[in-house]
Amino acid sequence: MPYARDLKSIRRLIAAHKRWDLVFACCGVLALMVGLLTFIALFVDMAIDGVPRLNWDFFTNFPSRHAAQAGILSAWVGSCLVMLVTAFVAVPLGVGAGLYLEEYAPKNWVTDVIEINVTNLAGVPSIVYGLLALGVFVYQFGFGQSILSAGFTLALLILPVVIVATREAIRSIPVGIREAAYALGATQWQVCKDHIIPYSSAGILTGVIIGMARAIGETAPVITIGALTFIAFLPPSPIKAEPPFLSFEWLTSPFTVMPIQMFNWTSRPEAAFLQNAAAAGFVLVLLTLAMNGFAIWLRYRLRKNIKW
């Protein structure tokens, strides 16, 4: 019977297709697992080596030639201060550029060229930013080998990420919102200030924090501009007892950052320093995860406040 044979062949066809589905799903899971398991294996290995070394002293001690007394105080303070400068520079510049490109810029070939370049900049190796910064910030602007230079360098590095995130966030705002505002006589700036920026801030902040999470792990550009390896003092305090109470002297202070401290420890002959390196790496990964977690939480919170 032709009908029955047909049904059989149809079933076979369906079965074959389902097999392919399964094969692809397995490949997908496998691909996912390679990345995920590698990370987990590395992280667990690092945690096993490093966690026993973590204690209060590890965070409050300066580097030392005695592995047991060595700590990451100058490294984590340096990392935090550099990140602070990075955020202060990258956010206004990135958001400003993104806002302009999305809301103000005329749609012509110049804008297109700029857009392509901004996207491509995100793929430039970080060492290139380091070399650029060495020439421009350290020598040309005379910032020296300071926290300020490092902050600017890393800001430059994450600027493309911030710009792209800003534009994505702005694009997701319905056109109706803008048109409604314009209809009520708002100027372009009023629309941006009262609607575009507040509504896109969740996406922007996420982009900023993801950029910062990348920047905090960067070593190459920071070494290029002259971060130090041994530094057993903290930058001068930004808060003074006498007026005007605030001081920006710390911006010009020499510094080191976590990845450099870690790298130095991994290249030491004594095995105990490898343990220190693992502990520092563990802290760094936790810091990055915490930043990403914070980004997710922020996005969730800010989204909740938007009422369209």
Partner: protein, 331 residues
């Protein structure tokens, strides 16, 4: 608004933690070789403690060459160097008007290591090392028997530092006769721990690196006695280096102090501290200290302002420390 407050609070708290140290900024800036780094770091650490943090010391690692670049631009007070200053660097310094005093601070004994299970290598001559490492050996000397007919028919696995390192420069100079001239088909790493791992895991491994890395990994590696020009096979050790029998692989390491910076009391104090405590501290970080007299003579040179290098801008192999200190220095 809550968010704004949160961001402010975060910024404020990260800033408040730093609110500890605010003294007058007296900073001694040091940069340069990673080989000299452990010694200088140890001195810097103890010096800062001895001065109750009134004087601050920073030490960076940018390699001997990178260090001299900054030094000759006048950015650092002291430069760590695992080899003497080169002609080209002398020219740079002269252009910028930077004068310097060259101070040997310790010895590093380059150690040739093999796997502990390797029983056929009892010693190595410089000629044998040359046979193994010279550029012509590439693709030709691949098995042990190619070096010495009595050795087994097994492939050699070679490990060595990368081409940017002063250790590589010195080893090639001492063994092959020309700095940076080496075969290229070996596992190279700037991280000596990678070399330690490599040799300790491969029965046919052979590598070379600084003495400190061997001392810390004695259970995993075997050092090879090197036959010196007198025909004695000598194992690297503190005594052998001081006695001058571990040649040609023992080399002095240096600090270069800018004459201009030496006028600053904090730099002078630091150098004095280095010269008085250098012996003890270099021993502690597993380097070979110079004889006590050498530090005293070096300090005398500082006081008298003996500027320049005694090497004339070229690399030299197997000079004893007494010889070095007696020589006339030139800028």
């Amino acid at each position: 608004m809550k968010l704004k407050f949160l961001v402010q609070a975060l910024a404020f708290s990260s800033v408040a933690i730093v609110a500890q140290s605010a003294f007058a900024q007296q900073i001694v800036k040091i940069d340069g070789s990673s080989t000299v780094y452990p010694v200088t770091e140890a001195v810097a650490e103890d010096f800062q403690k001895a001065k109750k943090n009134a004087i601050k010391v920073t030490v960076g690692i940018s390699g001997t060459g990178g260090g001299f670049k900054k030094f000759c631009r006048g950015e650092t007070d002291i430069s760590n160097a695992s080899r003497p200053i080169l002609k080209s660097e002398m020219v740079e310094c002269a252009k910028a008007g930077i004068e310097y005093i060259e101070l040997p601070v310790a010895f590093d004994a380059l150690t040739v290591v093999i796997n502990p299970k390797n029983t056929f290598i009892k010693q190595l001559t410089v000629a044998e090392l040359k046979k193994i490492w010279e550029p012509g050996a590439q693709n030709k000397v691949m098995k042990w028997k190619d070096v010495n007919a009595q050795w087994p028919d097994q492939p050699m696995k070679l490990f060595g530092p990368g081409a940017d390192s002063g250790t590589f420069d010195y080893f090639t100079e001492a063994v092959v006769g020309k700095s940076k001239s080496s075969r290229g088909d070996f596992t190279a790493s700037e991280d000596d721990n990678v070399l330690v791992q490599g040799v300790s895991r491969d029965v046919n491994g052979l590598g070379y690196f600084g003495y400190a890395y061997y001392v810390e990994n004695k259970d995993k590696l075997k050092a090879v006695p090197i036959v010196n020009e007198k025909g004695q096979a000598v194992l690297p050790s503190l005594d052998a280096v001081i006695a001058g029998t571990y040649t040609p692989l023992a080399r002095p390491i240096f600090i270069y102090v800018s004459a201009k910076s030496l006028a600053k009391p904090e730099v002078k104090e630091f150098v004095q501290y280095y010269m008085t405590h250098g012996a003890k501290l270099s021993k502690e970080v597993k380097y070979v200290p110079l004889p006590d007299k050498a530090y005293a003579v070096s300090w005398e040179h500082v006081m008298k302002g003996k500027k320049g290098t005694v090497f004339g801008g070229t690399a030299e192999v197997g000079v004893t420390i007494e010889e070095l200190l007696k020589r006339e220095a030139k800028l």
